[in-house]
């Protein structure tokens, strides 16, 4: 293997220092777990002059509830999020982050990093999309909160400016009458990219689904929500007929490609299957 390219390393201790560094350094990239970035550096897919390590910024390491939101700090690892008591309120997120990569990867990689890498197959994305997640983007003197979907500009392209950092991911505390599920199909159980993935969120009012949100991974240029599918199930009793109609709509709504992991036809068919299973699991999880 090739050695890593040379870069200067910076380890700020405060967020203020980190945004200052991102602003003043040329060709700087932030790093947290390095589980995506280090392989990219080795392949020479990117060659930053400076790496700004966020791991020592203590104020970015948390999973907490604040002002009606569940908030994930930028350096919170997959393992940390999976183990968080708070995250039991959002089971689809736990489904995803507790199976990403391997134990070693989950101990090191962050949810923020997984999202910023902007892979269409990022497993943390569909569950966070169905929770209407937002990302907090900070640069010197500026803070913006944008819908998660806007972070994804294309396959492996995020919408961040060179001096911007994602410092938090947050979503509204879900109501007690809600639950969710995330499922994926992959060549193996562990340590592999999803061929197709689906997340479903449901809010139940007796036997009726008062609100539904669904999202998919690996079926478009970015992880996507499918509003046309959501409309078909919101306000309905979720019998097999309704769920089948939704699955058919899901198959029509996606635009997958054929690549080494699977064909477009397979992905299209399976996103319907996964959606059915995800909806049924989510409904079954509502108390």
């Amino acid at each position: 293997m090739k050695p890593l390219p040379r870069f200067q390393y910076h380890a700020p201790k405060t967020l203020a220092e980190a945004v200052q560094l991102m602003d003043t350094l040329d060709e700087a990239k932030p790093v947290i777990g390095g589980t995506d970035l280090v392989p990219l550096l080795r392949e020479a897919a990117c060659s930053p002059s400076h790496l700004v390590d966020l791991n020592r910024v203590a104020e970015l390491n948390y999973v907490r509830e604040q002002d009606g939101f569940i908030c994930i700090g930028a350096t919170a690892t997959h393992a940390q999020v999976a183990a968080s008591e708070l995250m039991r309120r959002a089971p689809a997120v736990v489904d995803a982050v507790s199976r990403i990569g391997s134990p070693q990867i989950r101990n090191r990689g962050s949810v923020a990093g997984n999202l910023c890498n902007a892979s269409p197959a990022a497993d943390s994305a569909p569950p966070l999309l169905v929770y209407d997640a937002e990302v907090k983007i900070e640069s010197i003197g500026e803070t913006a909160i944008v819908p998660l979907q806007e972070l994804f500009a294309g396959p492996k392209i995020n919408s961040l400016e060179p001096n911007e950092l994602v410092t938090e991911i947050r979503f509204p505390v879900p109501p007690d009458s809600s639950s969710s599920s995330f499922m994926r199909i992959a060549r193996r159980k562990a340590f592999t990219l999803s061929v197709v993935s689906a997340a479903a969120y449901v809010e139940m009012d007796g036997g009726v689904c008062s609100e539904a949100r669904v999202a998919f991974g690996s079926v478009a240029e970015t992880p996507i929500r499918a509003p046309e599918v959501e409309e078909l199930i919101s306000g309905k009793e979720l019998d097999d007929e309704t769920i089948s109609v939704a699955a058919e709509a899901a198959r029509r709504s996606v635009a997958p490609i054929t690549d080494v992991r699977g064909t477009a036809e397979y992905r299209r068919a399976m996103c319907g299957v996964l959606l059915k299973r995800a909806i049924k699991t989510a409904v079954g999880r509502v108390d």
């Binding site: 293997m1 390095g34 589980t35 392989p39 790496l51 390590d53 070693q104 090191r108």
Partner: protein, 155 residues
């Protein structure tokens, strides 16, 4: 730059370039060869060690990132009772073929049993899901882990 950390309980300071991985620093600068260099992409688990007590692939950790932290390689667990039982179970169950995956496999197995003394077969499989054995000896490795669990904490 200088990086100071604790390696297997001993404070150490190493002069190293920031673009060197923890794996390369240990192997090339410090002579710690138990951490194996496999894929260098975090996929094979051969370089697994403990960073502040949790398993990570050291090929994905940059040397300066361990400043002030605790690194444990298999050498640091040589006299650990759990690791001794695991090691013996690996030998007696024929869980070692070429041996390249073994140090990383033992580190993951150690953490599995440390955190969950009575794993199910499924839990044992998940515990080592980040470690690849290309001799395809998983069956014997899982048998060894379950055997070690029985030795340590018989039900």
């Amino acid at each position: 730059m200088e990086v100071s950390f604790e390696l297997n309980g001993e404070p150490v300071t190493v002069t190293v370039e920031p673009h060197v991985s923890l794996l390369d620093m240990l192997r090339d600068e410090m002579g710690v060869k138990s951490v194996k260099k496999g894929c260098e992409q975090g996929e094979c688990g051969a370089c697994t060690l403990l960073l502040d007590g949790v398993p990570v692939t050291s090929c994905l950790v940059l040397a300066p990132q361990v400043e002030g932290r605790h690194v444990t390689t298999i050498e640091g667990l040589e006299k650990n009772p759990l690791m001794i039982d695991l090691r013996e179970a690996f030998i007696e169950n024929g869980a070692v073929q070429c041996g390249f995956c073994t140090p990383g496999m033992l580190m993951s197995a150690y953490v599995l049993l440390r955190d969950n003394p009575h794993p199910s077969m499924e839990e044992a499989k998940r515990g080592i899901e980040g470690n690849i054995c290309r001799c395809t000896g998983y069956t014997k490795i899982i048998e060894a882990i379950l055997d070690a669990a029985e030795r340590i904490a018989p039900e």
